[in-house]
């Protein structure tokens, strides 16, 4: 997708999300209502197929195109599994399969595959309760299981999205194929997707808190004029900036590498970074907004709660930090600087 096409697509999507993913929709998803129309329109726009080849009916975008879209989706708290489905479709397409319509999700975890039979259990699968199929990678094989062949135990996330545990008991796969991304890589890509969504959400948190401070009057003047609030928001901006910068750098590195490999260290570092600062972003924004930001009525929590959930999804800062730390420890002190400047795991 050339730059102009992407910009146009993002602009269209931005307008669409602004119009159609308002507070009410996000809230109703929390009540367990599936926004079927919204999903249908999203499919009609082709968004879940953004990184699927045109030969397979997709939009033909790159990994980078998909990630840019998902950052945007993150800044709108889009309450459907667009991220999960887009990634699932990308992986299915790259494994020689044909992406289907309907919401999909990614289930990565301790699964085993015998022939085309999948077994095992994955906790905290995003949108498990509404997904029509589960896409996973076991070692080097991609497998797709239809909802009917899985056992789902609902456990909504703290953001109210329909997460759940998914069990497969010798479940028949509707598709298996050699995956372009092995299991480890699939997890990296999923983590990167979350990092980009977090960048979008963080951005929105900053905009929301800043705007609020200009509107909210206390002791006769906008709270934005209080030095304590100004410094609070400046500190917030710093943490948001780090989130955005790390996610974008990792997206660039992963895109340059492609689906099978590349940018592994950057992804780990970005997810560690984004997860690390999520709490600070949430805490400062809430502190600056007081009781108002703590109500369900205000939109702030759509973003802060997602940040809290997403920091844990597909590996927390400790998970990715441990990967980085182990590699750098192994390489010793002299390996630190060269690896850091090369954005590579020390070896």
């Amino acid at each position: 997708m050339d730059r102009d096409t992407r910009d146009m697509l993002l602009e269209t999507a931005d307008r669409f999300f602004t119009e159609r993913c308002g507070r009410e929709v996000v809230n109703s998803v929390e009540k367990g209502i599936w926004p079927a129309d919204l999903w249908k329109e999203i499919e009609e726009m082709g968004l879940p197929l953004i990184a699927v080849d045109e030969t397979k009916g997709g939009v033909g975008g790159t990994l980078a195109d998909m990630l840019a879209l998902l950052r945007l989706a993150g800044s709108h708290a889009v309450p459907v599994p667009l991220a999960e489905t887009a990634l699932a479709n990308l992986l299915v397409g790259a494994a020689g399969g044909q992406p289907a319509t309907g919401p999909s999700t990614i289930a990565l975890g301790p699964l085993s595959l015998a022939g085309n039979r999948l077994s095992g259990k994955v906790e905290r699968v995003p949108f498990a309760s509404v997904a029509e199929r589960f896409v996973t990678v076991v070692n080097g094989t991609l497998a797709v299981v239809a909802r009917t062949n899985a056992k789902i135990s609902d456990a909504p996330s703290h953001a109210g999205e329909p997460y759940g545990a998914v069990s497969f008991e010798n479940a028949v796969c509707e598709f298996t194929g050699t995956s372009a991304a092995n299991a480890e890589r699939a997890l990296e890509l999923a983590a990167l997707v979350r990092a980009m969504q977090m960048a979008g959400a963080a951005d929105k948190v900053l905009a929301t808190a800043t705007e609020y401070s200009k509107q909210r009057v206390q002791f006769g003047k906008p709270i934005s004029t209080f030095q304590a609030i100004q410094h609070m928001l400046a500190e917030l901006a710093s943490h948001v900036a780090a989130t955005i910068a790390s996610a974008e750098a990792a997206a660039r590195d992963a895109d340059e590498g492609g689906v099978p490999a590349g940018g592994s260290f950057s992804i780990a570092a970005a997810k560690s970074q984004c997860s690390d600062f999520a709490q600070k972003i949430a805490a400062i924004s809430h502190q600056s907004m007081g009781a108002m930001g703590f109500t369900h009525e205000h939109i702030l929590h759509h973003y802060t709660r997602r940040l809290w959930v997403w920091r844990r999804d597909f590996g927390s800062e400790s998970f990715w930090g441990a990967k980085i730390g182990a590699a750098f420890a192994k390489a010793g002190p002299d390996g630190l600087w060269p690896a850091l400047t090369a954005s590579k795991y020390a070896a």
């Binding site: 800043t210 400046a234 900036a241 730390g325 630190l336």
Partner: protein, 386 residues
């Protein structure tokens, strides 16, 4: 919503710059003594070594972006970036030429007279002429416009009286660029200020050490007592001092020196945790590395924007703010994890000293290049809050 979007477009340093990196690394490997565990290695750019600077000058890596006629190499700002970060990443003693290369030279290039350029710049690039900055005064603090040092026009030049403080390296450098009042009154603030080039050997200029809390002598008080400064040493136009100074400050904010002053601690943490730390220790180490990587991505992104002709002032301020937070966190996080996960007791004792020293130095990070208060003020303005 109309607040400015914070963007740090990922930027690749160009191939030439990366090639230069290899050269710099090879040079440093040959030139630098083995890393010793001394406080002198903590902060590469606070450690002066005229010998090292002369060697670096010979390679053409000081004033690397400047025109060849002044001894420069006419390389890009990004080449300079790579040289700088390699000096820091390899803990090179870059303190002697640091200010001249980073601030004073560029200032002279931009605002100095041809005579000044020809007289000074080639000596800087040769690694033979070192600079200090005379900005703060005893009562000024962050309020840099409240300058009291007076340069009174007299025949052929100025008679200067007043006091500058926190002047790094004045006791070992050749020149100081001082912000002084050439007209108007103290209350005029930004108006009537000028920058002058002061030979630190000038009669009437007295340099007294200001020892820092760690007992180190980096700072000085520079007192002017009827010191005569020739007219030829006025930099730029009379009265433009504030303008010139503020354009200088922007330079200061997002470079790698803003988050790599205690890089040594991270390096030593890797050493002290050994080759196979417990997962929890790895996680903490990895998170620190991730934060440093992020800062570097941000800093490189800002460099890329500047190379592209933009003036990412807010972004630069954010890098400095985050860099300060990181550098204050680093030794404290490292200390705690080392206490539980160091491989040997001896290494631990050494490391705890290193980390403590770094913590002790950390307050200074918020002083250089704008205090946290000032920076957050800049960001708040960028957010449209003031």
């Amino acid at each position: 919503m109309s607040i400015p979007k914070l963007e740090f477009p990922p930027f690749h340093l160009p191939e030439e710059a990366e090639a230069l990196r290899g050269e710099v690394r090879a040079f440093l490997k040959d030139t630098l003594p083995k890393v010793k565990k001394t406080e002198d290695r903590f902060s590469s750019w606070n450690t002066a070594s005229p010998d090292f600077s002369r060697e670096l000058g010979k390679k053409g890596w000081i004033g690397i972006t400047w025109p060849k006629q002044y001894g420069g190499s006419e390389k890009s700002f990004l080449d300079r970036y790579v040289v700088t970060e390699e000096l820091l990443g390899n803990l090179a003693p870059a303190g002697s030429h640091w200010v001249a290369d980073r601030q004073s030279g560029p200032l002279l290039l931009r605002f100095g007279s041809e005579e000044q350029r020809q007289a000074i710049l080639p000596r800087i690039t040769a690694g033979e002429c070192f600079f200090s900055i005379g900005m703060s005064e005893p009562d000024s603090g962050s309020d840099l416009a409240s300058v009291r040092t007076r340069a009174e026009p007299v025949p052929g030049g100025f008679r200067v009286n007043g006091t500058k403080v926190w002047t790094s390296g004045a006791h070992r450098n050749h020149y100081c660029i001082a912000l002084v009042r050439t007209s108007g009154q103290h209350g005029d603030r930004h108006k009537g200020l000028s920058q002058i080039l002061v030979d630190l050997k000038t009669p009437g200029v007295t340099i007294r050490p200001i020892i820092n809390l760690a007992g180190r002598h980096d700072w000085n008080e520079v007192t002017f007592n009827d010191a005569f400064i020739p007219e030829s040493c006025l930099i730029g136009n009379e009265g433009d001092g504030w303008l010139q100074v503020t354009s200088e400050l922007a330079f200061e904010r997002s470079g790698p020196e803003r988050f790599m002053q205690n890089f040594y601690v991270l390096r030593e943490l890797v050493r002290v945790l050994g080759r196979n730390p417990a997962p929890r220790a790895s996680a903490i180490l990895g998170r620190l590395i991730a934060r440093l990587w992020t800062l570097r991505q941000m800093s490189v992104a800002v460099a890329g924007m500047m190379q592209g002709g933009k003036s990412p002032a807010i972004e630069a301020a954010l890098v400095k703010d985050l860099g300060t937070i990181y550098q204050q966190d680093l030794p404290e996080i490292a200390r705690v994890i080392a206490e539980s996960d160091a491989t040997t007791e001896d290494d631990l004792a050494d490391f705890l000293d290193i980390a403590q020293y770094a913590t002790m130095m950390a307050p200074s990070y918020t002083i250089q290049g704008g205090t946290t208060q000032v920076l957050r003020g800049i960001v708040a303005r960028g957010l449209g809050l003031r």
